[in-house]
């Protein structure tokens, strides 16, 4: 049944893409280079998550088999200066809320000389820090997908980039629609005691999800320095949780101003990193900062083995109300890359609260098999979670192992 629905969805999308492309194709006819190159890809991923500790809340499971499809299509013409890009996503999971689909990207892009324009659903990444993503505010987090918050929902936008020689790059964003964060359902792990329904969360803005939001970013590079300054004004991507005296959670998306700074200094094998934000809304304003470094011992064995060590400090003025639960923590980690034919790599890490006992350990390893298969193993261990941790206490029993095998077509 689910398969049938996705098939129908795909054919509709296909039609939409073709139609969109035809309209633009007419305009592009004047172009000297009309050669269009098409590209179709599909990734099918089988995943198994196993939570080895007894669930804390009613309805939660221990074993979560799952399957995901990631189709991609792109058409390029005008020597690659114009294109249509599509990335779709569908997952079936035991948790009904994790069974979901999304259009990650579907946009038209045109570049000419020193400017670039994108119109449609797109993903944009800002920032330099590995363990937390403060500055990155354009896309909504697909929170049911991964624990690290790196999976994002497609964001409708008009993006205009202007590249100058001496003053760096200016990005202007018009964001006409807000997307709500996904949350695990009753059967899902990594949730609060009260199941949050995505749809229940309201907005501070009367225009709700149709509030017309804007953002601007300046990015420049001088020698060893890469610097970015950004400002966002609109519906916050992170819902604001307010605990009522009766213990109920009241949550909504506030209208926020967020100014961000990201800086990286690349010096020999050292990467020095800094991210900082100041967010202000009627209900709340706060400052958050992440600073760290990464050092890589490269080609240790003369065979390509690289070992990187990472250390980052995370501060959030919101204290225990920080949804990320990273209010005064240290991240330490190591990235091991074998640089072999199979691209074998391992990422080990831990986040330790500096005031409490809470620690989260993580391990991610991946490797290619043949030319079309990859395997991934992930573990997250919640250790000694302090009872006073407002957010993390809910995940105390949610340590898990995850295995994913992907086939690329």
């Amino acid at each position: 049944m689910a398969q049938l629905i996705t098939m129908e969805r795909h054919s509709k999308l296909g039609l939409l893409v073709t139609l969109f492309f035809m309209i633009l194709g007419l305009n592009a006819q004047e172009e000297e280079n009309k050669k269009v190159s098409h590209d179709v890809e599909l990734e099918v991923e089988g995943e198994y998550r196993f939570f080895y500790e007894e669930s804390q809340f009613e309805g939660q499971e221990d074993h979560y088999p799952s399957i995901a499809f990631r189709p991609e299509y792109s058409a390029e013409w005008d020597k690659g200066y114009q294109s249509i890009n599509f990335k779709g996503f569908f997952r079936w999971d035991r948790d009904n809320e994790r069974t979901h689909w999304d259009i990650r990207e579907l946009y038209y892009q045109k570049a000419k000389n020193n400017w670039e324009l994108s119109v449609g659903l797109k993903k944009v990444y800002w920032g330099v820090i590995e363990s937390n993503h403060l500055v990155d505010v354009i896309n909504q987090t697909d929170a049911v997908e991964t624990f690290d918050g790196e999976e994002k929902l497609g964001q409708p936008m008009v993006q205009f980039s202007l590249i100058t020689n001496k003053l760096g790059t200016f990005d202007f964003f018009y964001l006409p629609f807000h997307r709500k964060r996904t949350f695990p359902g009753e059967e899902g792990r990594l949730r609060f005691g009260t199941v949050i329904d995505q749809g229940d969360l309201g907005y501070e803005s009367g225009a709700e999800e149709w509030r017309q939001d804007v953002a601007i970013r300046w990015k420049h590079y001088v020698g060893a320095f890469d610097i970015g300054l950004s400002h966002f004004y609109g519906n916050g991507r992170e819902p604001l949780f307010v605990f009522t005296p009766t213990g109920e959670i009241d949550a909504f998306y506030p209208v926020i101003h967020q100014s961000g700074l990201d800086l990286q200094i690349t010096h020999n094998a050292f990467l020095w990193k800094l991210e900082s934000i100041y967010r202000y809304a009627d209900a709340q304003d706060f400052f958050a900062l992440a600073a760290g470094l990464e050092f890589t011992f490269s080609n240790i064995d003369g065979n390509g083995l690289d070992i990187g060590v990472l250390g980052e400090y995370l501060y959030d003025e919101r204290d225990e109300l920080a949804l990320t639960a990273l209010q005064n923590d240290i991240f330490f980690g190591s990235r091991i890359a074998f640089n072999d034919v199979q691209d074998t790599s391992i990422l080990l890490g831990g986040i330790k609260d500096l005031e409490q006992s809470s620690t989260i350990f993580s391990m991610e390893a991946s490797r290619r098999f043949g030319s079309n298969w990859t395997a991934e193993i992930e573990a997250r261990i919640f250790s000694n979670i302090d009872d006073s941790e407002l957010i993390l206490a809910n995940f105390r029993q949610d340590s898990f192992l995850r295995i994913a095998i992907s086939r690329f077509f």
């Binding site: 294109s83 994002k152 020689n165 690349t266 065979n303 690289d306 690329f408």
Partner: protein, 258 residues
């Protein structure tokens, strides 16, 4: 008459100095002549097929695209995009080579749409599991080596090159230039830090583009110590694309990988 005498003296002096030219000077002169012969290509695009062969003869393949912009006052700019294996499709690198000092390099990761500035410190490490080190594939600037002319064998001029950068994985490279074919390189032998022969790179299938620029269609790198091999095959060389600085920005890097 006076003029004639003067020019005769100049000629004699030139010959005398020519003979007195040290092996170091001649080596540098050859490297400069090779650089000179390749000046003015402007920009180019090319498609690469990389075949990795292990010591048992098992192979795996990668497909890449490369864009290069020639700069004279500083090193070249280049953009490499992976088309296969499919799990890394869209991964791309942007490199600004510098004649002196370390290169600037950015990596684009398509899965999270992130551009990351990376350290160019790792010169000796293998490029995507191949027998090519990063330094073997970066733009070859004259300033990056010191030179010593070794011998002349028919049309071939053999020059020893010692890397200036202490982070290089080599003590020296022995390069064979073909003086009759625009000083194109026919072969390079790489000696490791212990001065033992590590690898041999052989160029073949040369074609002349725009009546001036020699480009090999095949690079074959053989590692004598591990018995592994990497073959690079170039196709669809295009020198007429007219690329500019605008095609070598972080915005262009994202576009290339999307």
């Amino acid at each position: 008459m006076k003029k004639q005498i003067l020019s005769s003296i100049a000629l004699i002096m030139a010959v005398a100095f020519g003979n007195a030219q040290t092996a170091e000077e001649r080596g540098l002169q050859i490297a400069k002549a090779a650089e000179e012969a390749d000046l003015g290509f402007g920009s180019s695009t090319v498609t690469l097929k990389m075949t990795l062969k292990n010591k048992n003869g098992q192979t795996s393949e990668r497909y890449l695209e490369n864009k290069t912009l020639e700069l004279t006052e500083d090193g070249d700019k280049s953009l490499i995009v992976f088309n296969s294996p499919k799990d890394v499709k869209g991964t791309a690198t942007l490199t600004f080579t510098h004649k002196v000092g370390s290169d600037d390099q950015w990596l684009y990761l398509p899965s999270i749409a992130r551009v990351k500035r990376i350290s160019s410190n790792n010169k000796s490490g293998p490029f995507v599991g191949s027998e090519f080190a990063y330094e073997d594939l970066s733009s070859q600037e004259v300033e990056k080596y010191s030179y010593k002319f070794l011998s002349e064998e028919g049309p071939l001029l053999i020059v020893e090159q010692d890397p200036v950068d202490p982070k290089s994985g080599y003590t020296r490279r022995v390069v064979s230039y073909n003086k009759e074919k625009g000083y194109r390189i026919e072969k390079i032998e790489f000696y490791d830090r212990k001065n033992a022969l590590l690898k041999t790179l052989t160029y073949s299938g040369y074609k002349l583009y725009k009546n001036k620029f020699w480009r090999a269609s095949t690079f074959n790198m053989v590692n004598h110590q591990s018995n592994k091999e990497t073959l690079l095959e170039f196709s669809d060389y295009n020198f007429g694309v007219g690329l500019s600085d605008d095609d070598f920005t972080q915005v262009a890097l994202k576009r290339a990988g999307s």
